[in-house]
Amino acid sequence: MHKIRRFITSCGLLVGSLLLLSGCQPLGIGNRQSQTIRISSLSTTESQILANILSELITHETQNKVTLINNLGSSTVTHESLIRGDADIAASRYAGTELTGTLKMKPTKDPEKAQKIVKKAFKDRYNQTWFPSYGFADTYAFMVTQETAKKYHLETVSDLGKVADQLTAGVDSVWVNHEGDGYPAFKETYGYDFKKVAPMQIGLVYSALAAGKMDVVLGYSTDGRIKSYDLKVLKDDRRFFPPYDTSVVATDQILKEQPALAPLLHRLDGKIDLDTMQTLNFKVDNDLLEPAVVAKQFLQEHDYFRKGAAK
């Protein structure tokens, strides 16, 4: 008899202390409160660093709490998460991808024009605000090892055409079926085909190339591993890949609920250039630092961009 009472009291204590631990946040881990801002990010290193920078910036400079919704598989899922109200902010959206993927419009080769079109379309169609670029563009790029480049005298993507029938290519698994700038369109523009195309996780292509498992891969131009493996990036001489300027996207709803948010996010406008992004990526991919740790260091170095806050 006293045992069961003891059991019930201990259960009660456990639940009680959990509730205490969790404080005012529902369930202690979760969401759905106006004070909690939800940021979604892709499974790429870059996106996770950017999401953590936003998260750190918001928690440091405001009273709001932040939940990260991490590891989303593609930009489509990210888009859905904002549309369905699972997230308030998307940490990294690439203008080129959205233009052809989400909006199903014709690709444009002019980054500024792309940015403008996407910004307007997202406002009109989805009530989402597209912020100015972080200051760097991430684009797909074909790369090879230095040895391969020397062996076949490769400088541009067109050069690949002569030897493409002997090469296996490792590519991002999402890219293969991309509308507009995917593999089918690529074959049309450049007029050749690889011997074999192996779709894989984008994070794996660099080491697959370095290990000699693939002859040529399609990766992101901002990845830190291009540096660490000393890879040769081939010039996109027919300008096939649309400009993928990287921006934050937030729902109009959260910007209205949290008026302090927009100026805060604008602090990052143009503050991260290509070189900075590569360095940050490198720290995570090579130096075993967590995106959260890298993000915090980055913001502390720049004093949370307080100086530029006025504009």
Binding site: M1, K3, I4, F7, S10, V15, L18, S22, L27, G28, I29, G30, N31, R38, S40, S43, T44, T45, Q48, T67, L68, I69, N70, N71, L72, S81, R84, G85, D86, A87, Q201, G203, L204, Y206, S207, R225, S228, V284, D285, N286, D287, L288, L289, E290, A292, V293
Partner: protein, 219 residues
């Protein structure tokens, strides 16, 4: 980093990202425990109920069995359709997986209470409620506890997969490890604390379970 071996990398990782791992650890633990607690809140009364209504028991345990056979990744995806991304989805998944061990053990525990003891309780003039509170529950508590223990260990494993729907937790570190160049150390950095958590949870609940064991079982 390449000059260090995996274990040295692991130590380096924990030195530089310690607080982050700790945050993910508590997140992971909370998700698992909320799922199991919810399942216990529903499962134990349900188990008691079907122990008294034998005809229903086949149906309910059958349904719980079917839930258990759905692969966890499929379950996460199905629930994601309704609940969206984030922690809620993972808690719901853990909840569903925890139902079977808890219902089944509650049912078995109640079943195993000897009829003679119940009869003597009735003979003493106990009401149904008194019988449940003073005889059946104390005698089956250890078995029920074993079910919860089972459920929690499974839950910790399922929560690791929850990182795929953006819930965070230690699975996050494992996924990053599979994407990174030399991810061996990262995978271990996520997997070892997960295993450690499961072991600690199992040992702790085992300890509680032994203390709740029915007096008759002890000399």
């Amino acid at each position: 980093m390449t000059n260090l071996n995996t274990w040295q990398q692991l130590v380096y990782y924990f030195q530089h990202n310690g607080s982050y791992v700790l945050r993910q650890f508590s997140q992971h633990f909370l998700i698992s425990i909320y799922g199991v607690l919810l399942a216990a809140l529903i499962g134990i009364p349900l188990g008691i109920f079907i122990a008294h209504r034998k005809k229903l028991s086949n149906v309910i345990i059958g349904v719980a069995n079917v839930i258990q056979t759905v692969p966890s990744l499929a379950m996460l995806s199905i629930i994601m359709l309704g609940l969206g991304l984030g922690t809620r989805t993972v808690i719901a998944t853990v909840f569903l997986y925890s139902l079977l061990p808890i219902i089944k053990n509650t049912y078995t525990g109640m079943e195993n209470v000897s009829d003679n003891i119940i009869d003597s309780g009735i003979g003493m003039g106990m009401t149904n409620w008194q019988l449940l509170r003073m005889v059946e529950l104390p005698l089956s508590l250890a078995v029920i506890m074993a079910g919860i223990r089972n459920a929690l260990v499974v839950a910790i494993g399922i929560t690791a997969i929850g990182a795929f729907v953006g819930a965070g937790g230690l699975g996050d570190i494992i996924i990053r490890g599979t994407n990174a160049t030399n991810g061996g150390a990262l995978i271990l950095a996520g997997a070892l604390p997960t295993a450690l958590m499961a072991i600690i949870a199992d040992v702790t609940l085992g300890f509680i379970q032994r203390h709740l064991e029915a007096p008759q079982a002890r000399p």
